[in-house]
């Protein structure tokens, strides 16, 4: 029984995740008074990519070919840990801290694959991605720490149950929001919409990918985004996981989507070295969340 629920959850993540990206993109365009693409555009992109021929660089080794599967499986593994239909799907497998390490696994292979083709764009992307992620990790760790101090466990299922919203979780959610912007390559850290060589990070790493491999990588990025949105939503709008709270689910995720879209249209992209300040601020926010947790508010 449990295994069916887990598979259903994974399919849900695969099916819904691209929609969130489509929604953010549509919202951004509407705020800018543009018509914008359909919210289903990410699906069209994926279908197009899956049906296209793939071009592999002659310099590339097996790392380049294997990386999409590693990234995909890491993101799905992370998605398995998130409580959606039941409070604890496979929670014996890993906890909140393990989530950080699982994200790192995907990122590690993505960065290696970027170096594998011998293109300088790849190297640039890999270098920047590892730089940003190494600054994200301490802030993420502190967010987990503040949650741990509140609930007494790093188990995600404990955090998944309904709990009173405290000052600590709101501050932690803000820190996590900033982390999410960095991890999902959004403005002000990165920009998903351009291929400008001076600024791109995630796109630079995926530059040599095409066809099915690129589709897997993009799908993984969507899934990662959905996981992070979910975690923020659970911090500020906690629900108990008994049954299908479809409406409430969608509503709270929508709030995050709107927030991301608003931030993306109202903030300019930062220089790479100012990202350190941005993430430093996320770190400080997480620190404040820890202080709140210590004070018990």
């Amino acid at each position: 029984m449990e295994i069916i629920i887990i598979i259903a959850q994974l399919i849900l993540f695969i099916v819904i995740a691209p929609l969130l990206s489509g929604l953010v993109s549509k919202l951004k365009n509407n705020i800018r008074m543009r018509k914008g693409q359909s919210i289903f555009q990410p699906y069209y992109n994926l279908i197009k990519l899956f049906s296209k021929e793939e071009v592999v660089s002659e310099t590339a080794s097996w790392i380049f070919k294997a990386a999409p599967f590693v990234v995909f499986s890491a993101m799905l593994t992370a998605a398995t840990l998130i409580p959606v239909f039941i409070a604890s799907p496979l929670h014996r497998m890993g906890d909140f801290l393990a989530l950080i390490f699982i994200f790192a696994l995907g990122r590690f292979f993505m960065a290696l694959a970027a170096l594998d083709t011998g293109s300088s764009f790849g190297g640039m992307g890999a270098s920047r991605e590892m730089f940003i992620s190494s600054l994200v990790e301490p802030a993420f760790c502190l967010v987990v720490f503040s949650i741990f101090l509140q609930f007494g466990s790093t188990d995600i299922s404990v955090f998944g149950a309904a709990h009173p919203v405290s000052v600590c979780s709101i501050v932690a959610a803000f820190a996590l929001f900033m982390i999410t912007l960095a991890e999902t390559s959004r403005i002000p850290v990165d920009n998903q919409e351009t291929h400008l060589e001076l600024t791109m990070v995630h796109e630079a790493m995926a530059l040599e990918y095409s066809g099915r491999s690129l589709a897997l990588i993009e799908l993984s990025a969507h899934i990662k985004q959905m996981i992070l949105f979910f975690l923020i939503a659970q911090l500020v709008f906690p629900v108990n996981f008994c049954g299908f709270w479809i409406l409430w689910y969608s509503a709270r995720i929508m709030v995050i989507v709107i927030a991301v879209a608003l931030v993306e249209v109202s903030v300019a992209k930062m220089r790479l070295f100012r990202v350190a300040d941005f993430l430093g601020f996320a770190f400080v926010l997480a620190m404040i969340a820890v202080v709140c947790a210590v004070l018990g508010v």
Binding site: V56, T59, D95, F101, A104, G123, M130
Partner: protein, 608 residues
């Protein structure tokens, strides 16, 4: 009368046995590896010499961890240091080896001097060098004396372990030795210092004030960050690994320091758990650092260079070495489901649980330490993406890398064994943790029979009752299943695939000169940590005219702050005082007779 003679020479308690296991786990594959490594690189008489030195080295390390007497400990310690000195200067033709050996022998003897001082104080208290007698004497030792002994021991063992700022010798000495020796030095020898700290400070001295643990935690965090930042900047593959050893010693000491903190706070469960985390990382670091040094040695042997800017594309020339290096890099970057992941998770959990059971400021302190450990983890991942990516992937950057060939069977065997262990120690975490609990219990005199750190044979769970779990085997299995699912989806959608050149922006030919270099890779970090690295560069332009620059040389450096602001002033002071002392010895026989006369007079006055 002769009470300094030993009552018992050897003492095989769980702590000693654990360290013996660690020594042999790394030394055996390294010895196998050295068959292939030494062949063709050195003359046959030198190979014989190296075997002799290796055997003495291993035996002396084994003696260090298993003797039960401080005096014999010191003798074994000195033999270990001296033999490793001879191994560091084994490549006598290299100017650098001699210099590295010099720094090493000076630093290691400064360390030993601290140890001798500590042992003399202990002897004065216990009137014996036997561990048991010292242990009994320590129960009644005044707290002030204990503090002094602790600080002396910390300085002495810290020098050997490579704690920042006593780490300066490590990045010189470790890379300069032959690679199988580097792997033993980094994998095992520096661990004997951790053994020393646990044996003398925790086991014999007994921790009773909490500032000991806090001091170790602070030093450990500094070691972690400084070590990994330097590793990230380095382009010599073996020196990169040596700096990363400084970082990992820091992570091990985080576990040890936490354990000391919890002992002083009378929290036995947490103390045992933290020490388990430290032990686990210790054995893991021995495995993956041993492995990585062997891989680096293979690269060095195959290409003749250690500069990663001259490597590249080795994954095609040396496919097996590449797999082993990748496994080592993944393990050291704490990626699931390998062994480094388990021990870093345990260390983070130890911090979290410790914070949960402390109050106020201590919570914040432990939280910040945990966050800095996470930062270290992120930087380590970046460092090994650089180390593996630049040297093994992409295009060969020089003829050294182009002419590389896969290495011989015995070398592969050594690396295979260690990479297998890296996987096994990840998957079998629950079983290993049970053994480590007994070792930790024995080291701290805590009964561990009622404590359990795992749910079953596959799942770890540090918190009793409801709590966090990880299961490395399940994670590994699930990753493989989902990866296979991804592969199935991939295969489902057509088979069309074309091999073509890397996109070159319409430029006519993309070659290795267009690739991203290791220096470029680490540039964002160099800028972000510029307050610590103090980078500077030298640019030299040769011009034909104002408008036409014929050639440009560009060099970038980082300042080694500890060397520049601690060691160089210290050295200058030593030289200055030596110079002023020389005035006492002007070469005049009359003055010397005068000295003798004055000495005699003083003796007559004072020894009346």
């Amino acid at each position: 009368m002769l009470d300094f003679l030993p009552q018992q020479i050897f003492q095989f308690d769980p702590l000693a046995l654990f360290f013996l296991c660690v020594i042999f786990i790394v030394c055996l594959p390294s010895a196998i590896y050295s068959f292939g490594y030494l062949k063709g690189k050195y003359s046959s008489s030198k190979i014989t010499l190296s075997w002799f030195l290796l055997v003495v080295f291993v035996l002396s390390m084994a003696a260090v961890v298993s003797v039960g007497n401080a005096l014999i400990f010191l003798v074994a310690w000195e033999i270990m240091s001296l033999v490793s000195y001879f191994l560091v200067v084994f490549d006598t033709t290299h100017e650098k080896s001699i210099q590295a050996g010099m720094i090493y022998i000076i630093m290691t003897h400064i360390g030993t001097a601290f140890l001798v001082a500590a042992f003399l104080i202990l002897y004065q208290q216990a009137h014996s060098f036997d561990f048991m007698a010292i242990k009994n004497a320590c129960l009644v030792m005044p707290a002030r004396t204990k503090d002094i002994v602790f600080l002396l021991l910390l300085a002495g063992f810290g020098t050997k372990a490579g704690i920042v700022p006593l780490h300066v010798w490590l990045p010189y000495a470790h890379p300069q030795a032959p690679s199988h020796i580097s792997s033993i030095m980094s994998g095992v020898m520096i661990k004997t210092a951790i053994y020393g700290i646990i044996r003398f400070v925790i086991f014999l001295l007994g921790v009773n004030s909490s500032w000991w643990g806090i001091l170790i935690l602070i030093l450990a965090v500094i070691s972690c960050l400084a070590g990994i930042i330097y590793a990230l900047m380095d382009r010599d593959i073996k020196r990169l690994l040596a700096y990363s050893s400084v970082e990992n010693i820091g992570i091990i000491l985080l576990g040890v320091g936490l354990a000391m903190l919890f002992i002083s706070k009378r929290m036995p469960y947490l103390a045992v758990f933290s020490l388990i985390a430290g032990f686990y990382h210790l054995v893991n670091h021995a495995i993956f650092k041993g492995l990585l040094f062997l891989c680096a040695g293979s690269v060095y042997k195959a290409t003749g260079t250690r500069d990663i800017e001259k490597l590249g594309g080795l994954i095609k020339k040396m496919p097996q070495t590449a797999v082993y290096f990748l496994l080592g890099a993944m393990a050291i970057s704490a990626l699931p489901p390998l062994n480094g992941f388990v021990s870093e998770w345990l260390t983070l959990q130890a911090f979290f649980l410790g914070a949960f059971n402390s109050t106020g400021g201590m919570k914040l302190f432990l939280g910040i330490c945990a966050a800095l450990l996470a930062l270290t983890g992120g930087l380590a991942a970046a460092c090994f993406v650089k180390g593996f990516g630049v040297s093994f992937l992409g295009l060969p950057r020089s003829h050294y890398a182009e002419s590389a060939k896969e290495i011989s069977l015995s070398m592969k065997l050594g690396m295979f064994f260690l990479s297998l262990l890296a996987v096994v120690f990840g998957l079998a975490a629950s079983l290993i943790i049970k053994l480590l609990a007994r070792v930790a219990g024995a080291a701290m005199n805590i009964d561990v029979s009622s404590m359990s750190f795992s749910l079953n044979n596959f799942t770890l769970s540090p918190q009793i009752g409801e709590g966090a779990y990880i299961s490395a085997p399940l994670l590994g299995l699930w990753l493989i299943v989902l990866g296979a699912a991804g592969f199935a989806i991939y295969k489902l959608f057509g088979k069309r695939r074309r091999v073509y050149k890397t996109w070159d922006c319409g430029y006519y030919k993309l070659d290795a000169r267009n690739e991203y270099t290791a220096t470029a890779f680490s540039k964002p970090f160099r800028i972000a940590f510029s307050f610590f690295l103090l980078p500077y560069r030298k640019t030299q332009k040769i011009r034909e005219s104002f408008y036409h620059v014929k050639s440009i040389t560009y060099e970038t450096y980082t300042t080694k702050v500890f060397k520049k602001y601690i060691y160089e002033p210290l050295l200058a002071l030593v030289f200055r005082s030596a110079k002023s002392m020389r005035r006492l010895q002007p070469g005049s026989i009359h003055l010397y007779l005068g000295y003798i006369f004055v000495t005699l007079l003083l003796l007559v006055i004072f020894t009346r």
